[in-house]
């Protein structure tokens, strides 16, 4: 089962909006890398939740529990979310800087992953 079968599921709707927001933030001039990285983390987190639920899993909403559930179902996905969380901490809690170029790269890489999970910005 795929989230393409449930395009209007609550998690898929949120993932789509956050993916659009992330793409908008990196496309504008000057870019908004902090906002973009925060949104793309949530787009991927929500896309993952939508996908896990479509696959019949109901993980605890604790972020680490979702990463581990994702990794058990698709190798590399949980690890990608886990890594992206560190960037999201930089974005939201000022733990370090994020350049515009880095923001664009992170959004591009993780937008592609969202699309693989069945979430598209359109």
């Amino acid at each position: 089962m795929s989230i393409l079968s449930f395009p209007d599921s609550p998690w898929a709707v949120r993932a789509r909006q956050n993916l659009r927001a992330a793409l908008f933030c990196v496309a504008r001039q000057p870019g908004l890398p902090y906002a973009a990285v925060s949104r793309v983390y949530y787009a991927l987190f929500q896309a993952t939740m939508a996908w896990l639920l479509a696959e019949g899993l109901a993980p605890d909403l604790h972020h680490a529990a979702v990463w581990r559930a994702a990794e058990s179902m698709r190798q590399g996905l949980g690890r990608d979310l886990w890594r992206l969380y560190t960037w999201r901490r930089r974005a939201d809690y000022a733990t370090a800087e994020i350049s515009e170029a880095r923001g664009r790269q992170l959004v591009a890489d993780h937008a592609a992953l969202c699309r693989e999970l069945g979430v598209r910005e359109a």
Binding site: H63, A64, R79, W82, T86, R89, A96, R102, Q105
Partner: protein, 102 residues
């Protein structure tokens, strides 16, 4: 030294990870206690690649008493981090390659 940090150091040594890593306690409100493990002085063009390498080594040790959060910092970011590191930071330092005697 607490056991999760010890396991991380062993994993980095076994993998011969090529960059210094600063390991220290922190907190993330969604996760509770965390161990931040950042590779330092990574060339700017290789930050994501080396962060991925570090994450592959640390994933199996990521969910213990604390959640481990991996990262990689370029030289300028590393300089700022070094100036702000808390007491109790544990360091992994890569072993210099042995020079051939022949």
């Amino acid at each position: 030294m607490e056991s999760q940090t010890h396991d991380i150091l062993l994993a980095l040594q076994r993998a011969a990870f090529p960059h210094a890593v600063a390991i220290r306690s922190g907190a993330a409100h969604e996760l509770g206690p965390v161990l931040e493990a950042d590779a330092l002085d990574v060339p700017a063009g290789r930050v994501l690649e080396q962060e991925d390498a570090l994450a592959r080594i640390l994933w199996q040790h990521a969910f213990g008493a604390s959640t481990v959060l991996p990262g990689a910092l370029d030289p300028e970011e590393s300089r700022r981090l070094r100036a702000a590191l808390p007491t109790g930071t544990t360091w992994y330092l890569p072993t210099a390659p042995r020079r051939s005697m022949s």
